[in-house]
């Protein structure tokens, strides 16, 4: 959504505001500061200035204050020679493990509001950090830094000593694990040859029996079970279970039978991992479409190339995002639930500023909603910066 071309005055205004921020703030720098590569995009500039290295923190801050860049990045990798002009001359020494969740991956992102996008990404992000990175991968929370990206998502920097040397291929394995790619269904479902099974109180010879892990089992085993149970509940509780079942390619006859079979007691037993409650139920769990859906229900998300790339540039914590004016701020897992980026990452004050709005737009910042129509009007500074960054208005 962009409406106007920014005028020279608008660009200068933004840069001034950014500069005043960099002058006031005592920006902390990344660890291994002098081993990192830095890169910047400037207001009104073309392309990115890369391959910069700084040896002193003072020098770095002076640079930010002088140039007041639109975007600031640092390399997740650290190098022997971070400022070498060619990648292969830098001599890679290691890299953080990065996860980047951004709203542009959401299905249908364009049809939901910015607020909702951020909310949805946040839920995914919590799942990624809490469920995958902490529970499965065992990273202690102290080894991770979490940030609101200043744009449409969140970043997680894993700085555990075990990750720095991981190759790109190793990181790919981690991504595949999180997204459930290439997951073997047989890991989850196994047929136990029981010879006998209890069905409707009678002992029947079945030869085989389908087992699935309990939803509280660790890792993917429990996760996919939970996914299946969620789907099952979703079907049973929906207004039109038959229609839902048809969506999985189940015929009407079988669907009816299945719903008949699914007594509360049976659902309870299914939750304990006993899938073989009847032939129809068993066959249903072997349904391919259903399994795929369960995997996608349970899977985590992350921007794959970002995680796999061992020489990635990522937005500098504490810097400002040129398209919103928001600050890249740290967030903590404990308070993430209540975290409202559209208040907490907004750093400019309320000084009134006269702007020329190019499109009708509603923005909610700092819990205040501004319904703006095209034309000249006064808005608080933080709204002005946001509108200009998004190219929705010019300075008057």
């Amino acid at each position: 959504m962009s409406g106007v071309n920014l005028t020279k005055e608008s660009l200068a205004f933004l840069q001034d505001q950014f500069r005043s921020y960099y002058k006031k703030s005592d920006l902390s720098v990344p660890d291994r500061f002098s081993r990192r590569e830095y890169a910047f995009v400037f207001f009104g500039g073309k392309g990115m200035l890369r391959h910069l290295g700084f040896s002193k923190k003072k020098q770095f801050q002076a640079f930010l204050q002088k140039k007041a860049p639109m975007h600031a990045y640092y390399s997740t990798a650290y190098y022997q020679y971070p400022d070498a002009p060619r990648m292969n001359e830098k001599e890679w020494m290691g890299a953080e493990l990065i996860f980047d969740l951004d709203a542009d991956h959401l299905p249908d992102a364009d049809n939901i509001t910015y607020e909702t996008q951020l909310e949805l990404v946040k839920i995914e992000f919590i799942k990624l950090v809490d469920d995958f990175l902490m529970n499965d991968f065992g990273f202690p929370i102290e080894s991770m830094e979490l940030y609101f990206s200043g744009g449409r998502g969140y970043h997680c920097h894993v700085k555990h000593p075990s990750v720095y040397q991981l190759s790109s291929g190793d990181r790919r394995e981690i991504v595949d694990y999180i997204t459930g790619r290439d997951l073997n269904a047989s890991v989850v479902f196994h047929e136990e040859s029981m010879g006998r099974a209890q069905i409707k109180g009678k002992t029947v010879s079945t030869g085989k029996r389908l087992r699935m892990p309990k939803p509280d089992e660790p890792g993917w085993r429990g996760r996919i079970s939970q996914g299946l149970i969620d789907i099952l509940e979703d079907i049973v509780q929906s207004n039109d279970p038959l229609l839902k079942l048809k969506g999985y390619g189940v015929s009407e006859y079988t669907a009816k039978k299945l719903l008949d079979d699914l007594s509360e007691n049976r659902i309870l037993r299914i939750k304990q991992g006993h899938l073989d409650q009847s032939t129809t139920i068993r066959r249903f769990f072997l349904n391919n479409a259903l399994r795929k859906k369960a995997v996608s229900f349970a899977a985590g998300e992350t921007d794959e190339p970002v995680t796999c790339d061992v020489k990635r540039l990522i937005r500098l914590p504490g810097s400002l995002h040129g398209k919103t004016g928001f600050k890249v701020i740290p967030v903590s897992l404990d308070t993430l639930d209540d975290f409202d980026p559209l208040s907490e990452a907004v750093i400019f004050d309320k000084t009134p500023v006269l702007v020329d709005v190019g499109v009708d737009v509603t923005v909610t910042l700092k819990k205040e909603t501004f319904e703006l129509t095209t034309g000249n009007q006064e808005v608080p500074l933080f709204v002005a910066v946001f509108l200009l960054g998004k190219k929705l208005a010019n300075i008057k």
Binding site: D136, L166, D170, I174
Partner: protein, 358 residues
Amino acid sequence: MKPLNTLARYPFLKDAKTYVKNQGIAVTELIKDPLYDRARSIAIERVEHAFEHKDVGVRQLSKESDCIMELFSYPLSRMITCCINDSYFTRRYALGEAVRFYKNLIKENTFFLVDIVKEFNLNIQFDGENQHLSIYFTDYLTHAPTRYKHWKLVNRELQNGYISLSSKDLSRVTQEALRHRINNELLDKPCHELIQKTFSEEIQRLQNKIATQRKNNETIPVGKLDVKKLPPCIKRILADVQAGENVPHMGRFALVSFLNSLKLSTQDIIDLFNTAPDFDEEKSRYQIEHITGGVSSTSYKPPGCDKLKTYGLCPSEEIDRICKKTHHPLSYYRYKWKIENKRKKKKSDKKPNKKNEA
């Protein structure tokens, strides 16, 4: 210190090294003294067996002298390998040692295994009571053959950073750790002059063997495939597979499904892969057939440029003019055919004219 015949079976362990050192025998003695004739011939056997059968082989270890000769043969084998001075051969030798290691390991009990694993600095947890083993995931990633689907992290049980695995699987991971270790140790080691002199004949013979094998591989026409027309991505993956590099699952998948679309049979594809040092025909056949639809009933479509790019399989430095025009490796290949056919047609159009003139 472990018993002598254990050391003989695992001559790369620290204890074995200490034992050899403690004997106080100079390298020159080992190479020259008739006393060690047997150690020297075992050394050659090790190396040759590794090259031909991917396994350094087994010998009798009933007498003390058997064990000692076996132990001494190991450093000699390594030195000979360095003098052969061929990275493919070195990889193959490392594989041979590692495969034998694995075959021995799976016969041992879990306590022994756990003890050995310590030497490889693998971070594992062992619960002796219920014999439950697990390994820290980064060590797993470094060594496990994740190019095979069931070894992929996603198909393993991961909790709190540790992956549960059977003692057999841990043996396999340790096999890879040994392979990597020997490979790295021998990589840039110079050839000992005296070894070169003493074993010159054998070294020459082995070098010839490598050369012949290379030649054979080059001249084998691979079905209907014209390697020159392959797009950079596929060319790269194929070269890696042939060199026995660790190609990720997606890479193998892209390659096999691509070749399958060109109507290469499973056998054609196996022949193409056959040069990898750790090539396992049966396993490969199964995997290939899985992709081509020989095992399950679905045959998969090869991935396009977009997908290859996200997987980091598109070598951006090698992209050429045709890449920019096409969006799929298959269209790249077909496009190259088209240009060639046009060219041929032009030529053949000209030829009859010339004849007419004559």
